[in-house]
């Protein structure tokens, strides 16, 4: 059974992240990226904070082993950010690794054991070429029963799209619309991997190939947007990014020492589903998203309609449509249409992926859940800059591991 409240309340008092990028960090290791994010998080604490004040570290890193040939990464990071002898724990839940790290940090403080913890994540992916990255990401799926039959990670979400299109009659244009929106948002975010609209990219790539495009859809329908796993094309997929994010959590009773404007974590949730997508009767929804979000909403005492700003896990465009339905923003089969109508834009009913989402902000796998918290922290304090959502009161972070075998959620309030 799950309690409806935590014994001790927890707030976010600081957050930092590197820019996510495919080229900028080629000369750095994961340790340098995470240190940069952790230092920025410490510096963001209003009344001052040094990392040595942290009681523990919870770190998400999906595959330091494959990407950097380095294991025991929790101890390495604790050492590198200078917090020895404080305990450090690596949390691995595929793309939900740092969403899990955030929840673990909340539970550790709520238990009374610690007052302040650093949580976060990092992924240094550009050490491998695309085919090796594809192999590594596929390890988040069932290697014996899905990957051995030829399924890639994009292939699994393509299967979700295939079933979704068949059930609801939706088309690829709804997916393309998500990509256009998230790139528009990413263009406003200084931390985003791609700070360019689809039209900016169409012009740049078009000039190189001596092609011109009158609008986004013409470009997205062209050979410059090749198929990855049908029906998903390149611009339906998040990029391969390097990056890190760190968040400082504190018990409410000590948070006031550090800031007058903490962001409260009012609900958390996590759920598991079958490892293999093929074991689920309905693959047009992620059951774990529904369970994790309901648990988090119940703990927070809110309904989906109360959410003003939502970071949802859009590793592929279809994933954002499915997530906005699973999280209760729109009825099943209506997520794509709602987005087309602008209801998930910066001034929509709920601003979905105001930071550009995984699509434009980038997706260094283990950093993503914490990077969502970074943006929610900024949004709820009115510090998000050009992609600020007006009057943001309630925010959520929804982080999915692989094709939904793990989902984490938090609800935040200013």
């Amino acid at each position: 059974m799950i309690a409806l409240s935590l014994h001790r309340k927890v707030s976010v008092i600081g957050a930092g992240m590197t820019r996510f990028h495919h080229k900028l960090h080629l000369e750095k290791q994961g340790r340098e990226l995470f240190t940069e994010a952790a230092l920025e998080a410490a510096e963001s604490v209003d009344n001052g904070f040094t990392l040595k004040e942290a009681d523990a570290l919870y770190l998400g890193y999906f595959s330091s082993d494959m990407f950097e040939g380095q294991a025991h990464i929790s101890a390495l990071m604790a050492d590198w950010i200078g917090i020895n002898p404080k305990p450090a724990v690596r949390v691995e839940g595929a793309c939900a690794s740092s969403g899990m790290a955030v929840n673990m940090g909340v539970l550790a403080i709520a238990s009374g054991l610690y007052d302040v913890v650093v949580v976060g994540g990092v992924e240094k992916m550009r050490t491998l070429d695309t085919s090796k990255v594809t192999d590594t990401l596929a390890m988040a799926a069932d290697v014996s029963y899905e990957v051995a039959m030829g399924f890639t990670f994009p292939g699994l979400y393509a299967a979700i799209a295939s079933a979704y299109f068949n059930k609801y009659g939706s088309t690829w244009e709804q997916l393309a619309n998500i990509s256009i929106k998230n790139h528009e948002n990413g263009a406003l975010n200084k931390k985003a991997h791609y700070q360019e609209t689809i039209m900016d990219i169409a012009k740049k790539l078009g000039e190189r190939k001596q092609m011109s495009f009158s609008d986004e859809m013409e470009f997205l329908n062209s050979a410059l947007n090749p198929m990855v796993a049908s029906p998903l094309r390149l611009f339906d997929c998040c990029p391969i990014s390097d990056g890190a994010a760190a968040v400082i959590l504190a018990a409410d009773d000590v948070a006031k020492k550090y800031t007058d404007t903490p962001v409260k974590i009012v609900g958390i949730g996590q759920a598991s589903d079958t490892m293999a997508l093929h074991d689920r009767e309905d693959i047009t929804a992620l059951m774990a998203s529904r369970v994790a979000s309901r648990n988090a909403y119940d703990m927070a005492g809110i309904k989906a309609k109360d959410v003003s700003v939502a970071c949802v896990h859009d590793c592929f465009t279809i994933a954002e449509i499915v997530a906005t339905e699973d999280l209760g923003f729109f009825p099943k089969g209506q997520g794509g249409k709602a987005a087309m109508e602008g209801r998930t834009g910066l001034d929509g009913d709920v601003a979905v992926n105001a930071d550009g989402g995984l699509k434009a902000k980038g997706h260094p796998v283990g950093a993503t859940g914490a990077a969502m918290v970074y943006d929610i922290f900024k949004q709820l304090r009115g510090e998000a800059g050009d992609h600020q959502v007006a009057d943001a009161e309630v925010g959520i972070a929804h982080n999915v591991g692989a094709a939904g075998a793990t989902v984490t959620m938090q609800v935040y309030r200013r």
Binding site: Y145, G150, T152, S162, S230, L232, D279, E281
Partner: protein, 125 residues
């Protein structure tokens, strides 16, 4: 239960012998493919072996253009989730010359022998 039954190895050996070997819960009769030691429905731990006949319909499919290292020479190849007649899902290659097949198409299992393993595939019928 012998721990050599209802394992990944027993499934793979089944594929090598051109059979789809799963398990059936002796308590609630739930069928499982691949085989498992614990029934996800009732928690039962007594399993018997069950052979699936390999006929089903395509529930979802995708043509993979950016392939795994191991499948590079088949690129592009179609993969799918097949819902078997017995009411369980399974992943497999779809032998359709690298083209999508319609959701709902009828297929049957075939077993692709490679040097060191057998890959589960389905062909349209």
């Amino acid at each position: 239960m012998k721990m050599t039954e209802h394992t990944v190895k027993s499934f793979m050996e089944g594929l090598a012998n051109e059979t789809l070997k799963g398990s059936k819960c002796t308590n609630c009769s739930k069928l499982m493919l691949p085989p498992r030691p614990i029934c996800p429905s009732c928690g039962g731990k007594e399993m018997e072996s069950h052979e699936f006949n390999g006929e089903g319909t395509v529930k979802a499919c995708s043509v993979i253009h950016i392939a795994l290292t191991r499948f590079q020479d088949m690129r592009p190849h179609c993969v799918g989730i097949v819902w078997l007649k017995e009411g369980v899902g399974v992943s497999g290659l779809i032998l359709s010359d690298g083209k999508e097949v319609e959701v709902g198409s009828k297929v049957e299992a075939v077993f692709l022998k490679e040097e060191d393993r057998t890959v589960l595939a389905f062909k349209p019928v």
